[in-house]
Symmetry: C2
Subunit: 385 residues, 2 copies
């Protein structure tokens, strides 16, 4: 939903009489350094609506932390184009970029209002109740697990689903939405907030398999041992030398190879959701779209009408349940930058469970989900032996 926020920013800037022109930097900070801007002042509303529902940054993205020299160059470019409002969309790394830039601007006395606009499927920003992008990615995870639960029930075995989240288990925890009956999976959920112990894991898998006749497992890509070493990085099964987490099936395949040792002929499989969960076309939470759009509007409101010269937009909830009211506030960028908000302790049960109260948190963000239905299942009496 990142483009919902972009369109929210553009719309609100178009509507403000304080804004004379709207530029979009091509690839974030890199585009500013290259003086590579799109003029967004004349985008047509219909086109913007199309952009808003297209996944992944329409202005394209970058992984770059600016140096002090970079910041000097940015201010020079801003000066040349008389840029006086600046909005940077992204997660805690993007907030850090905004923070670094803001520090230099303040030190140099460059007059600018600079805001971080939150977006991360990881949901790991501090201060805010939740992050735009999370509800839609969590919806993907919930629907995937709901379907996979049916698949695992139809053709029983042990199935591992590896879900994004290096440092925080928010997205993996959303798999809990698929469990609407006691027998439904995921039967085990592993998040990076807990130390992952392979022996305990194998014991838990064996127990669940005995209990349910099958076992569906959700695992964060970021699970690690007591020393903080990623399980995915272990030399044991790093078959192809890949070190990154997403975009590799290494962790899933490693867990499968361990689980297979539990017994001959066990049907064990792994899927790694990878980039699908952050980019799949059309799987979005309606509320997430609305909030992402509104976060853009709010950022412009804070910038053009508020007192604060800089900040990070945060969302708070008023009321509970499916129809809470979101409230948009401002936090200091330094409170949000770099650091990670991990999954709250109160949501985690033991080593491998997410408690029901988490559903109150996540369900409104994800929106209504379909229901799986069983046959009424009256057994026919046997007539033979």
């Amino acid at each position: 939903v990142i483009n919902q926020s972009l369109v929210g920013l553009i719309e609100a800037c178009m509507a403000s009489d304080r804004v004379e022109g709207i530029y979009g930097a091509h690839r974030g900070i890199q585009g500013i350094l290259d003086e590579d801007f799109y003029d967004l002042s004349n985008e047509l509303p219909e086109n913007l609506e199309g952009v808003a529902v297209t996944p992944c940054a329409a202005l394209r993205s970058i992984r770059k932390k600016p140096t002090h020299d970079d910041c000097e160059r940015v201010l020079e470019v801003f000066q040349a184009h008389n840029v006086r409002y600046f909005f940077y969309i992204g997660g805690n790394d993007s907030a850090e970029t905004a923070l670094i830039l803001n520090k230099v601007a303040v030190a140099e006395g460059y007059d600018i209002r600079l805001f971080h606009v939150p977006k991360t499927v990881d949901n790991d920003l501090l201060v805010t109740d939740h992050c735009p992008g999370y509800g839609s990615a969590a919806r993907f995870v919930a629907l995937a697990l709901m379907g996979d639960n049916e698949d695992n029930r139809s053709l029983p075995g042990i199935k591992v689903d590896v879900i994004m989240g290096r440092d925080a288990g928010w997205l993996t925890a959303a798999s809990r939405l698929a469990r609407t009956r006691e027998e439904d999976g995921p039967h085990l959920i592993y998040v990076p907030e807990r130390v992952f112990d392979m022996d305990s894991f194998l014991g838990d898998v064996e127990d669940a398999y005995k209990k349910y006749g099958r076992c569906l497992i959700a695992v964060s890509e970021g699970i690690h041992d007591a020393q903080g070493q990623l399980i995915a990085k272990s030399k044991e099964t790093d078959a192809f030398g890949n070190q990154q987490l997403s975009g590799s099936g290494a962790l899933g395949d490693q867990l499968v190879s361990q689980i297979k040792k539990l017994g001959d002929g066990l049907r064990v499989r792994a899927d790694t959701f990878g980039y699908l969960q952050r980019s799949f076309f059309g799987i979005v939470s309606k509320l997430d779209c609305e909030e992402a759009r509104e976060v853009g509007h709010a950022a412009v409101r804070f910038a053009t009408e508020g007192d604060a010269p800089h900040g990070s937009v945060v969302i708070q909830r008023d009321g509970e349940g499916m129809n809470y009211t979101p409230r948009y506030e401002l936090a200091a960028i330094h409170e949000v930058a770099r650091n990670t908000k991990v999954l709250e302790e109160r949501y985690i049960v033991g080593d491998n469970g997410i408690c029901e109260s988490f559903l109150d948190y996540v369900a409104p963000l994800v929106g209504e989900l379909p229901h799986s239905t069983r046959l009424s299942a009256v057994r026919v009496p046997k007539k033979l032996e």
Copy 2:
């Protein structure tokens, strides 16, 4: 959409005055051997509608090829319950099970009408124009690639997406739907109908990366070398001798490790769509649902009103384009069993392309897709050097 066909069968049997009771075998042939049946005669319509939209076999599944003794036992069970109509839903392995069973029934003079009802996401059944299940899985693949194309565009690199299809490239070819602009991916599509040569592959990837500044690649899990050896190997096989391919990230990771040799610092990732493409909750083609339901109706019609004592239901198209009319016919089971219909030659371009005419075939099955929208992208003139 397998449960659409199941519900179609149940509905049509309920409506037929030739049918006195409706049993569902729990886990296919295994349930018959175990005399393990559900009585489906009194399922409520509302519940059936819920079952119809729930993914994966509601009666649960099995991979089992019956022996002659098994078939004798099946007939004994059928006799005990006076089973005179039999419908078996599935792909070419299920058709083979139906064929084996039918041969024994005919030899023994057991009076039964026995039909294979097609369902496979692989779309690889002979005779039929297309298979129920394919349109919905192809829709998943198209939406995944459309999103991944945006992701790959936003943060450029080389991305490999591994798609189901051991012997036939139908599902992988559906990735072609994501390519609505010349610059869109997938830029390269590899299907098992072509020999996969690693050196040619790496050369093609390098060329595409030079041309587009990024490269999105769709690969069938079943790609193999000139000797027919799978590029991804697994020791595990099922009862029909099929090697396990899905549920592992091995092929994707192997291709990534090869591609990384093309240059230091290349951003190379792989995702393996795995079981998501056949079980994801809610991603279905409307037409596929309707046809899957109707295939069930047609099977009962053939069984109770037709002359043929056995057969496999096939779908043919009348007319072209998005609004063709499906026609339901009967083929001999032996024409459908075991064998595979590979992707037609006329749809394949060179070693790694799917031609535009394939879209005429696949687009109606998948249904309308969303559109990605670009900013109008007017560059701002530079003011600095």
